[in-house]
Amino acid sequence: MRTTPGEQMPLERMTRRGVLAGLATFVGSGAVARLRPATAAAADGSGSMPGMAMPTPGMKMRSGLGASVDPRVNGFDPTHILRDFDWGKTRRLASGRVLREWEIVAYDKEIEVLPGVRIAAWTYNGRVPGPTLRCREGEALRIHFVNAGSHAHTLHFHGVHRDVMDGVAGIGRGLIDVGDDFVYEFDARPFGLHLYHCHAEPLAEHIQKGLYGAFIIDPKHGRAEADELVMVQNAYDSNFDGDNNIYAVNTVAFHFLNRPIRVQASSLVRIYLVNIVELDPINSFHVHGNFFHRFPTGTSLEPTEYTDTIIQGQAQRDILELRFPYEGKYMFHAHKTEFAELGWMGMFEVV
């Protein structure tokens, strides 16, 4: 696959051959130099920082507005993640049912979550959040999981399934050791917006380091055509003091403030909103200049609320639908304002 500046190879879609080729590409690129440890930086303050202008003496450093992380450093782009749905591979079984399959590899990776600030993440297929797995109600699902990380991990899906496929320690295969693999199999039900994540202990650490992703089961007859956006709210405790100090949507703080989400006026916009923030009991979503219909967990086709602000607990999900009547720029952010000013704010650009 050819990559160009500003674009990255979508690791989440790689096949096993692609995993090797992709990492080889990454290793062979300038990313190696950009990922050198801070201790190798020039002592006089010179040298480039990923996603940041070249620091020069006396320069003004800006946080939030104007400062961005270069997506090539992480190998994934929060903007790309918005509309990146992994439908896996399908084939029809003798029974007539559709079997849908994915391959998920867990491995460690350093990522930049705020200009100049890098953390040691644990990833599914090299990105945080992991790939957005999407299927249709009633399909047979099969997920081939490989643990290439440094700790035992699992895949735990929210949904209806047998206990041995639940991805928790001590039941069925339980923890998948380093270098081992397992195939999770279950049916796609119920339709809605769900979640998958690692369920190894300590749970908060395995989740917060990046082992999670959105899991969408479409209703049998689908939903109305829309511009669909996946927003996974996440956060980081970079100094391990038990408090988050960096917040984001799709991992990089302030990303959508610097790169607004472009949508069409009057067109239906559907947001798949997931809250996977650990350590804080609640999170929230607020949009400026508009209201939206709320479909809690997406398990009903009828909205329960028409509002401009919602609260989500840990692992809570909502599908939000709205149309922007006017062109312009409209902010969205957590209305827990501390989170907003620590990274969780962005902008829609309506054209």
């Binding site: 096993r16 995993v19 090797l20 990492l23 080889a24 990454f26 290793v27 190696v32 990922l35 440890p37 801070a38 201790t39 190798a40 930086a41 020039a42 002592a43 006089d44 303050g45 010179s46 040298g47 920082m49 620091p55 003496p57 006396g58 320069m59 003004k60 450093m61 946080s63 939030g64 391959e103 491995y107 460690d108 990776k109 350093e110 705020l114 200009p115 100049g116 600030v117 890098r118 953390i119 040691a120 081939h144 490989v146 643990n147 290439a148 990380g149 440094s150 270098g179 693999d181 195939v183 980081y236 970079s238 100094n239 100090n245 960096i246 703080a253 302030f254 501390e338 000013e341 620590l342």
Partner: protein
């Protein structure tokens, strides 16, 4: 099939670790860093000392849980080096402020300014 994928992935990880891409990482407390702060008209001055044996790179600054812009003559501090950060901020007399300086590894050194002692 999947076993093969595991082998490939592990080889990739070993390669990545060897090249420093996915190495074990140390963030956390900014051991060896100290900071002091003072009020100035329209903002704060923060002096950061690096008493550790490693080069430390300053990445971001927050004031009371909000990322803020700042200016500095240098961001990379050599061992025993120091730097001064200038922060524009509309502070209020008598109110305390907590300033946190984040390094490139996510480690934090913090300092307080304002409050009754500066009134």
């Amino acid at each position: 099939m999947v076993r093969g994928l595991a082998v490939v992935a592990l080889v990739c990880m070993a390669t990545a670790i060897a090249l420093g891409i996915a190495r074990p990482w140390s963030g956390g407390a900014a051991s060896g860093l100290t900071a002091s702060s003072s009020l100035r008209p329209g903002g704060f001055l923060v002096v950061v000392h690096n008493d550790s044996g490693d080069v430390v790179r300053i990445a971001q600054v927050t004031v009371d849980d909000s990322f803020v812009g700042f200016s500095a003559k240098r961001l990379a501090l050599a061992p025993r080096g120091r730097t001064q950060l200038e922060i524009d901020y509309s502070w209020i007399r008598g109110e305390p402020y907590e300033i946190r300086v984040l390094t490139s590894t996510g480690a934090i050194v913090q300092t307080q300014v304002g409050g009754a002692q500066d009134s």
